[in-house]
């Protein structure tokens, strides 16, 4: 399965979120998971299985599909829970 972390520029916060998702994926030992980051405008419903954005960009990602919204992009506890749930939804363990 594929996670796509997104922000408006594809430069700053999306890259931070991507790094943190990669850390969580390693911690949890999840197999066959890829993580990328991009700006919101270049992403479409087929770009990933799960889209991850910060709370402020929630309105910009309607219609993409399985979207995870984070209150804080540097809160590893929140992210760990979100990644775990998303992986379970997509049958990855």
């Amino acid at each position: 399965m594929k996670f796509l972390a997104m922000c408006s520029t594809g430069l700053g916060s999306s890259f931070m979120v991507r790094m943190n998702i990669e850390t969580v994926v390693r911690e949890l030992g999840l197999q066959d998971v890829t993580v990328e980051h991009s700006d919101i405008s270049s992403a479409g419903p087929d770009s990933a299985d799960v889209f991850v954005v910060a709370k402020d960009l929630e309105d910009a990602v309607q219609g993409l599909g399985d979207v995870v919204v984070l209150n804080s992009i540097i809160d590893m506890d929140e992210l760990r829970g979100a990644v775990k749930e998303a992986a379970a939804r997509h049958g990855v363990a």
Partner: protein, 151 residues
């Protein structure tokens, strides 16, 4: 390394009550004075927040102000401003920020490495709290150096 991009002279503390515009302008000041960024970069950051860019709020009272490299970055650099009380972004209480970073990346590569380092430090609950508790520039530099050495 983040410790090289965030020297003591780029780390400031203030007890003044600031607006978010003043906070962004002040956090960028050491970079402007050193010629790392042009005044246009500060304007670009303010404009982007005004246009709804509250996503620079990372949570935990920390914001990472930045704009695109072509908006006036001369050399890659980072600065930090710790406030005594929050200066909420766009005056929105849900974006109360009392620890501002200014991030200026000259190119994508410099951007990635420094951003990765900063992300690891801010995402580590222990270091994040220590950074929020730090009371002086030397303390912040020591903290970051120790964190990077431990990796």
């Amino acid at each position: 390394m983040l410790s090289h991009l965030l020297p003591e002279r780029n780390i400031h503390f203030t007890q003044e009550k600031l607006t978010w515009q003043e906070a962004v302008t002040q956090v960028a000041r050491p970079l402007v004075e050193a010629g790392d960024v042009t005044p246009e970069y500060v304007r670009a950051m303010l404009d982007s927040i005004t246009a709804g860019g509250t996503y620079i709020d990372l949570g935990h009272g920390i914001a990472l102000a930045h704009a695109r490299p072509e908006h006036g970055v001369v050399r890659t650099g980072i600065s930090m401003l710790r406030l005594g009380e929050p200066a909420p972004l766009l005056d929105l209480p849900e974006h109360a920020v009392d620890l501002y970073f200014c991030f200026a990346a000259a190119d994508a590569d410099a951007h990635m490495r420094a951003m990765a380092s900063l992300a690891r430090i801010l995402s580590d609950a222990h270091t994040r709290q220590a950074l929020r508790d730090a009371a002086s520039a030397p303390e912040v530099v020591k903290l970051i150096t120790e964190f990077e050495d431990s990796e």
